[in-house]
Symmetry: D2
Subunit: 369 residues, 4 copies
Amino acid sequence: MSGNTIGRLYTVTSCGESHGPAYACIVDGCPPGMALSAADIQPELDRRKPGKSRHVTQRREADEVEILSGVFEGRTTGTPIGLLIRNTDQRSHDYSKIMDRFRPGHADYTYQQKYGLRDYRGGGRASARETTLRVAAGAIAKKYLRERYGVAIRGYLAQLGPIPLTLRDWDEVERNAFFCPDPSKVAELESYMDALRKEGNSVGARVNVVASNVPVGLGEPVYDRLDADIAFAMMSINAVKGVEIGAGFAAVAQKGTEHRDEITPEGFLSNHAGGILGGISTGQDVVVSIALKPTSSIRLPGRTIDTAGAPVEVVTTGRHDPCVGIRATPIAEAMLAIVLMDHVLRHRAQNLDVTSPTPAVPGRAPDSR
Amino acid sequence: MSGNTIGRLYTVTSCGESHGPAYACIVDGCPPGMALSAADIQPELDRRKPGKSRHVTQRREADEVEILSGVFEGRTTGTPIGLLIRNTDQRSHDYSKIMDRFRPGHADYTYQQKYGLRDYRGGGRASARETTLRVAAGAIAKKYLRERYGVAIRGYLAQLGPIPLTLRDWDEVERNAFFCPDPSKVAELESYMDALRKEGNSVGARVNVVASNVPVGLGEPVYDRLDADIAFAMMSINAVKGVEIGAGFAAVAQKGTEHRDEITPEGFLSNHAGGILGGISTGQDVVVSIALKPTSSIRLPGRTIDTAGAPVEVVTTGRHDPCVGIRATPIAEAMLAIVLMDHVLRHRAQNLDVTSPTPAVPGRAPDSR
Amino acid sequence: MSGNTIGRLYTVTSCGESHGPAYACIVDGCPPGMALSAADIQPELDRRKPGKSRHVTQRREADEVEILSGVFEGRTTGTPIGLLIRNTDQRSHDYSKIMDRFRPGHADYTYQQKYGLRDYRGGGRASARETTLRVAAGAIAKKYLRERYGVAIRGYLAQLGPIPLTLRDWDEVERNAFFCPDPSKVAELESYMDALRKEGNSVGARVNVVASNVPVGLGEPVYDRLDADIAFAMMSINAVKGVEIGAGFAAVAQKGTEHRDEITPEGFLSNHAGGILGGISTGQDVVVSIALKPTSSIRLPGRTIDTAGAPVEVVTTGRHDPCVGIRATPIAEAMLAIVLMDHVLRHRAQNLDVTSPTPAVPGRAPDSR
Amino acid sequence: MSGNTIGRLYTVTSCGESHGPAYACIVDGCPPGMALSAADIQPELDRRKPGKSRHVTQRREADEVEILSGVFEGRTTGTPIGLLIRNTDQRSHDYSKIMDRFRPGHADYTYQQKYGLRDYRGGGRASARETTLRVAAGAIAKKYLRERYGVAIRGYLAQLGPIPLTLRDWDEVERNAFFCPDPSKVAELESYMDALRKEGNSVGARVNVVASNVPVGLGEPVYDRLDADIAFAMMSINAVKGVEIGAGFAAVAQKGTEHRDEITPEGFLSNHAGGILGGISTGQDVVVSIALKPTSSIRLPGRTIDTAGAPVEVVTTGRHDPCVGIRATPIAEAMLAIVLMDHVLRHRAQNLDVTSPTPAVPGRAPDSR
């Protein structure tokens, strides 16, 4: 399919299936000289790891990463970094119930039609387990961006089903099982999820990601805009159905006087743009929001067809996330890190000698959300 | 910047500025043997053309396309198709008022900081006038997709500021100045726009695009998914701040039982997925929705800084669209055509010999919007 | 075909056929702020131009370049540079003799089989006239490399048919009609070419290109080595059948003690490597040599088949170069410039902060040829 | 460095260093449905393996490949194929003698200057051990090309130092330690190599590769020609300094009447073109020849500098190939397979529906060498 590489100068190429021997990726383009070991990557993997609370899938995967190459005496060498994650929990599951039928809302039918055959075990290549590699590759980008440019990339759960969540406290995000940014809402989320699990159903979610201290000037219009590449990267995450930058769909009902972010020497007066104008970063926070659909892996039976085209019923047993959006926060952060990293490299290639007569406007401005 | 090429096998490379001599693009990858002349492209350009009603910019551009190459005796030869559109209405405008200051909500500031200098005339490279080329390149893709696969790509205005519009009649879309799909709403749109113009303000919009009769199997996961490439292409359009596929952000509050599109031998029972599962087309309608911000080119004064960093006021005179979303419909259609075309070519490269034992499910299913 | 773009960060995308309306290319990735006008490009085009002596084709083309975009007030803006060259000498030639038959040694047969149809006028897309665009795009790269890094790129005719030519004097190269670097050989070349023309035959040639003052460190192994990209670029020139770096095929019979270029603090003691080790520039002269075949456009009849597959005879009349290698010198220089430019940009993207404890070895070392 | 991917639709992305934990590559774009197991790849790896005779390096590597992904129930699924080869012979070598000095003719100096640091153990990323992955990825391409199109790709040693070798017998190639195609020459090669080893020196070589039964029409001019991509792929192999297609440098002294390959309904009368015209395959044998330099890893002392820039002497002990060209035959075959595979996919993307009125000329014509 040759669609398994993302990025242009910081490239991530991935392989692996849910129930195959291993996942692997090759991260090409990381600058040389950065301190790096598995210990820099593992914490991000652990944030995404299944089985950490009763609200996510109980599948148990060690998700231990091995660095195969690209690091010498504790520093990146500028050569490609190979990452390997073995699959350990390939429970000898009974797939006889789904191997011959297409779970609705899953990629079963489309993979079958596209390739003529498919690895039906746990979704095969379409499994969200592939996002472990994204998180690993994103961890390297995050580290470089943080150490070289002071960029901070953070995400949180902004809505779970019918429950909207407001950013109250960044520190709270890492303290609960939901990446919820509002301590007063955690109990409500827990009881909602308990009821949902009991019901055997699933629900959608919204995740917000914010990059702070982003250098001004990132993005390569007219096509490879920073926002376009972010939209691509986010929409490539399993279950994502929508992407917004800044005001997003709220901009539809806004007037020009409201939406335009006025500028003063002390900074922008608002950030409806989400930190990107004309496809190029302004230096304000880059603000991204994504919609994740409810997974179709639920216990409640649904109508579908089998591989012969006959109508059948399907029930998904097994261990699934009732809200895939919960574990999506570190994934969305990772994708934003990968895109920003790519654009940092692209920017300095062409614009190395640029000096502007205009002083940079301070970036820290009121967030539009 | 080397970000001016979109596509992988059907590639469009573009150049040109609003007030330079010309826009040009090179369309590479169109299969040989298709009948093609400027007359196939011009009608699409005319749909997007400024000056067609009092509700859009009064700038007058002929937008006449010349085919420079790639066509011989009326047929494509398989070699790259060069397209040239001369700028004719380069009115000797007085730019002294904006050349030294950054219009808020525009790319003025970011271009200046990224490149150290900028063509301030009419937005330069950041002008939406570049989308003429997208429409031209999309017209070629549209024609191929229609003739070879029977694909129909159509768009409409789904919301203008506070006024939501429902698809009532595809034919109506081409009959009014707004691409409005509901004849009962046209008068309301007219009076809203008249008032807005009088006010000197602008407003956002939502545009929906639908591709019907799309072959099953398009998309190259895990990164180059069909939906990811659509998100990229749409977000690369000037003023777009959000992209949805199928249910989009509505999926956040949906449950799995509601969202999953059940399958029967007669077809899918719904289309919340927007025609894409696991990044691959299902054969249902591909349904995309985009949010366009209100333009910042308005007569009402706003605060900003000048190129020396000092606070100043800016007023945008000149001829501008009070709702850039109105003329965005043919542009969004073109981008969808370009993406589908690219994926048709990519799909058949790898999957030429694929046969699936499963009969294709009829694609025409109830649209989720 | 989507194979009409070269480069990764400095990209050149080209279109046009020999007897179509025009050639055009889009140069994307040139850094902003460089002074540029058509006058910077035209001299290189003039070096390649037909009709300058009796030893090259008498076709008369103005080859005048128009800059369509990417330059504002005399400086590059960082946006893509569009270049347009109109075809002016589309003599209403009689093509009836070749339209239905395949000239041996030309691309007639392969284009027909690949695309099912072909523009038979003057070779169509396969005409070497496309190299005007390469020369134009290369002129921009040359200027940037010279002004920013002091790189000098020069070429010369190293052999014409049986006559080998030794580099005696760089200045002589521009003084004669052959790019011959040895003043004592010009008369011999003239009489050889006069006889060849009388005979109605053609002959091959060898061209050498040398880049001096190349920064150390260019090249992105293990695939995108500097030498690999040079080989690609050179082999993409019409009629080229071989490429050598440094010692080239002479290395086959060399021993390790002879070939290895020993290093001293004062510089390398030889340059069999041609300035590239492990795919990365050493700082020595980059030395490239290419073989150009004799054109098959000759007056002496040859056997071939017609479009129906029947045996026929073909004679090429018209105005052709009896030695296409003569005008290849500026083309080869341009391709080397494009590759070096691309690698300069790629290098600084990733290696911006690199400092080596080792002082750079002086690059100017004895050339291996 | 992001230069570690080759190909456009059949892509190979590689990582790994000589003395790191492992080599890995991801092969993306292999069509689904092909039978594949490690047993299909291992024989090609064994052809290249060190330690098979006294004439090659005595380093002992198992070179056992593990398939990580992309294969399900013995068939390719169309998803990326991960390949892993662990390094087993990381002998606790004493690198103190070379860690602080640059071996002349190696990439030590250029890696140091480019990246600021380097993995000095056994050449690190610059080690030719990386070619194991190329051979593995090429084996998959070879299998597909053979099974789907009947393409045969074979290579042989065409010259070893001063000893030219003529193709007498394809079967002989696999019977001796040199890939020598002439049984009468094997003894001479053995005594030459024995003397060379005793001397402590190394020597260059020429390898020829031939692809037979190649479909007509492969190649995407004007840049991504088949010959240009072959030149790129071959020049990317360690130690290669020259590439020829067909007549190659012999074309310099040829006349048009001699070089042009005349066509008859029964086939081409010669193959000076090496099976490629205008960058597109003719259906004749694709004939490629490459020059490999003598390795600089020799026992005879040479002058160089250390990492502080001071003059020192270097002697390479360790286990090295005295003629790296010997083991290059399977590598060159693999690179040709990868390029042809990529172009097969690219060709059918755009030209799926092409039919030519002209019957294909039989491809099997006298080889030009």
